[in-house]
Amino acid sequence: MREMILMVVVLTALSSVSGGLLAAIKNNTEERIAYQQLKFVKGPAIRAILEGSANDPITDRFTIKDGDVEHSFFVGVFDGQPNTVAFETSGKGYGGDVGLMVGVNIVDETLVGVGVTTHAETPGVGARAKTDPAFAAQFKGMPFKGEFKVKPDGGQVDALSGATITSRAVSSAVTDAAELYGRLKTQLADQLKTFAK
């Protein structure tokens, strides 16, 4: 009996110390990691989505608060008008959260493109959501409202074969993005005016 209690105590103590240590390190590195991700992962995704914009979307960005959460929006200027924004949402994939950058034309409210940013999906299976251009390309031009679902669930999105969970994650991220856009539409339009050239 004594041995059993000792086992429980040691394991509990070890786990708590480990948890505390990791939380502290996570806290201290969070900001730097966010910056690095912006530079190396989100940056290229944003540039790919807003390709051909007259400005640099990485520097022309602003944040809007949605409840307690702050969202970053990246502005793309096309034909002299700041009419396109890109922002990030995420969906639950097979290996954790799948980050998705979504680009929207706010004039006709259509998707201009999506791109997977951070993910931990299986290489060669779920990771194709990022590497296979055909998967992301199908979103282009879709009206940006309502719910996005994969075809097996009765929706409009072609799922990657063998990676339905990842495809669902991407679809739900787009759905979340559409909801977020619906909530912040007016604030977004106000902010964008300041970028008019």
Partner: protein, 201 residues
Amino acid sequence: MAKTLAQDFTKGLWDEIPPFRLVLGLCPVLAVTKTVENGIGMGVATTFVLLCSNILVSLLRKVIPSKVRIACFIIIIATFVTVVELVMQAFAYPLFLKLGIFIPLIVVNCIVLGRAEAFASKNNIVRSTLDGLGIGIGFTLSLAALGAVRELLGSGTLTFYETPIQIMGPSFQPFTFLIEAPGAFVALGLMLCLMNLLGKK
């Protein structure tokens, strides 16, 4: 005593050098050694984990009940691996992108658990530190060597600090097979064979 202490350190560099003598932890060895830089990055990350887990396991060896020792070792190892993952994301993001999933997989690297179980849980902290450091440096050297062979023959370059340096002349035909996964097995096999020949006296 001094002799054994030195041995604790140096055995990792030749006599028990992983993965050539201690054929353990082959998953990262085969997967990340496409370039020298990746090999060294992986080696340094593993060395850090090995060193810290060896020290902690050795410190706690009298406290940890033997029935749950493996669970305790894994908690310790997993903690340090997560530390490495976070620090690498914060300070060496391009390297993290290349090593990707293989950083969290250090948790299941048999070398780390193997040293904790076979050495650190039975020896004092000084010896365990030297053992971890020796094995870690040996592992790094092996990965760098394997990475150098594969990269040099497979693409004719050597990569340091993100910049590939062209070593082979323009007439060199890259043997791209070595960069592929099967090439990793062949290169590792040949190097194992070479090590055995050299070791035979």
